[in-house]
Amino acid sequence: MTGQSSQQNRLYELIYLMLDGKITAEQFAELENQLAGDPEARAYYNEYIEISSMLRRHGNESAVSLPDQFVSEHSQINQSPALDESFNKEVKPNRKIRPAADADDSSAFWEVIEQDLSRNASLTNDDDTPEAEPVGRRPRTLSGVPSSKSIFKLLGALAAVVAFAVILNTLAKWGQYTPPDEYYLATLTDAVNAEWDSAIAVGDKLKRQLINLKEGYAGFTFNDGSYVIFEGPTTFTILSEDSVYLDAGRLYAKMGAGSARFAVKTRNARIVDIGTEFGVATDDSGNSEVHVIDGEVILYTSDQHNKTKKQHIFENQACRVDSERNTHPITIAKTAFARSISSDDGFVWNGDNIDLADIVGGGNGTGTGNYTSGIDVFFGNIKEFELKDFRDRDGPDGFIPVSESPFIDGVFVPDGGVGDVQITSAGDIFAQCRDTDGRYWTKILNGYNPAQGNLQAYWDMTLNGRKYGSPNRPGIFMHANCGITFDLEAIRSSTPGCRISGFKTTAGATEKPQVTSPSTYLDVTILIDGVIKHQRNDMFEGNYDDISFNINEDDKFLTLIITDGGNTLHGDFGMFAEPRLVLSQN
């Protein structure tokens, strides 16, 4: 769903040309085709004509006359006391229309307006070429009676005079009035690559107004504490300290701690948040979607009899309201909305978790790493997979830092039989490490493609009937005996506005595709700062565990280890399927 389209821009240009009688045959054909084929274009055409008509009426451009026969037959009406006054008002020149008394009459703006108005009067004469080609036009007056005597023109002029005076009064007030702070409803607190239709900058306080964000992201903090991120292109109005109108585009809203509710209105719905986070998207066709990320919202719509309908939408649910105001449940798209932005880093977070397999491949956890790349345990560098990697060899001594990735603290070959096993750069120790043979087989890999290793009949990364190790289903392949430690502090720094709330994975021994494959017998251990959070020893092929635990703000390192079960390392194919750090907003 996007904002205003170029097709719509073209549409209003063509309608305007048509009204002025300046449209060419080709342009008319284009307009007619668009209106004939698109009900939304016809609806827009109706609105545009109505606005044009109102502007003309407001500006007293209308030359409509009451039939002169009426005027001549009923001239007593001209003498009615009620109308004399209005007649007198009409004949006075426009210069009598003054702004309010507190307006600055000497301001350049008003001088320009008044000069133009007086110039208009002198320019309006019979030589003024009309806009349209005269096509069988009839004279404006009948029977030679001057139209200035038309009662309808008098009343129309009076209405315009009054309306114009009201508007000037309002304009004068706007120019002279500095609203107090409590008048402002929201503050623009951050923006990433934002481009606007008007001059807005971070730190600006905004009152009730229409805003067009042409591209980028903008975060507003409302006076009630709620935080809303708009993603361009989008057009919206800040309605109050706890509500917005979304005309077209998308937003994400998180209620403030002290807020009782936050509302988003669209053309066909009103969404009231009663806690805590949701995304709304709407398009030019009048369709709206709401996705509830956390908490609950109430969706208000109306049916064709204008009767209000109310529907609760809960966490992990989503709903679409079409242009006919019918509602349909849809699949939630939690990552479709920008939920955190930081102009310091240009960082935009859409709710994705950090993929540790991607980090193993040299990435930042958001898909920037290389599939099937991994870390050489002996040297600590990140390299592409090579077939020659598959061989037994002695592991290095001690903990090996990985300098090529800021998010990986280091790697090691665990062997409790030779002493303490250091598992972090801070000196944390894996105290209960098994006595292994101190050897390893291959890199720690971001995924594995069996065709590359020419071993597709031998093993792959299947666990619980699902194949992992691809971009769509990431996984870390780790043959015994290996360990890797991730630097949580560094990962936190790369995700401003978010905190790491937990870790999830499915870990175990890969399933054997062939009965002739060597037997698997391995151990899985996961630690935080050297403290065991999960351990399962003596796992056979196909054994696995679904693992999930919380991570605290002061936890520094996460370590994943596969050891050989106390026998040889042969056939000990271990893996961590979809290993992810769960992010939450601060």
């Binding site: 209003y12 240009e13 309608i15 305007y16 040309l17 048509m18 009204l19 002025d20 009688g21 300046k22 045959a25 209106l35 004939a36 109706n46 609105e47 545009y48 109505e50 606005i51 008509s53 109102m54 502007l55 003309r56 009426r57 407001h58 500006g59 451009e61 006359s65 039939p67 009426f70 009923h74 009406i77 006391p81 320009v112 307006i113 133009d116 108005l117 320019l123 309006t124 003024d128 070429t129 349209a132 096509v135 069988g136 036009r137 009839r138 404006r140 009662i151 309306a163 009201v166 508007i167 706007w174 229409l210 109005t237 309605l239 109108y245 005309d247 209105k265 719905a269 009103r270 209000t308």
Partner: protein, 188 residues
């Protein structure tokens, strides 16, 4: 006026008060005009058609039943005037008019428009106030006193082609603002 200088209603030949027609016409002329403008979307043509419609409505006011829908009656008369006009235009070979099928599909929302016209007019006034100084000035020049688009362009020193992009866009901005303003006043 009678001998006591009291205002009396002027009575039309059909016995109905002219003031009845007068007040009904003034109250509803905008809706009828807009109906015509949607189907004959050229200012001068719509003006002429509306004048014809007004004349017919006045002549036939004795056929109108007070208390019934004046707008619907006026729109019906306007429809015949439009049909007649279109026929003449076709005979003259004028191809710049909507085909019959498209005209049928242009929604007649006169009743809705009439009901909300004051709200929308008020919204329009607010929205004009929210325009930038430049845009407000241009719109006021265009509609205040019969200033053509060409004259506005000459006044501000831009090409006519450019002004035919600027003014329609400002009106689009007003359209969206009115839409938003009215929508925020509605209770769903």
């Amino acid at each position: 006026m009678d001998r006591n200088n009291k205002k009396t209603n002027v009575i039309t030949p059909n016995g109905l008060a002219a003031e009845e027609f007068f007040s009904l016409f003034v109250a509803n002329q905008d809706v009828i005009y807009t109906y015509i403008l949607k189907r004959a979307p050229v200012w001068n043509e719509a003006d002429d058609l509306f004048q014809e419609t007004a004349e017919v409505m006045w002549r036939k006011f004795n056929e109108f039943e007070l208390g019934t829908d004046f707008v619907a009656w006026g729109v019906k008369i306007a429809r015949y005037r439009i049909l007649s006009f279109r026929k003449k235009q076709s005979q003259r070979g004028n191809k710049v008019q909507f085909n019959d099928k498209l005209l049928e599909n242009i929604e007649d929302n006169s009743r809705f428009q009439n009901e909300y016209k004051d709200v929308r007019m008020q919204a329009l006034q607010q929205c004009i106030g929210k325009l930038t100084d430049r845009d407000r000035h241009l719109i006021m020049m265009r509609y205040e006193h019969k200033t053509t688009t060409k004259m506005v362009a000459e006044r501000v020193g831009v090409s006519v082609q450019r002004m035919y992009k600027i003014l329609p866009k400002i009106q689009d901005t007003l359209l969206r603002c009115v839409r938003l303003t009215v929508a925020t006043e509605e209770e769903l």
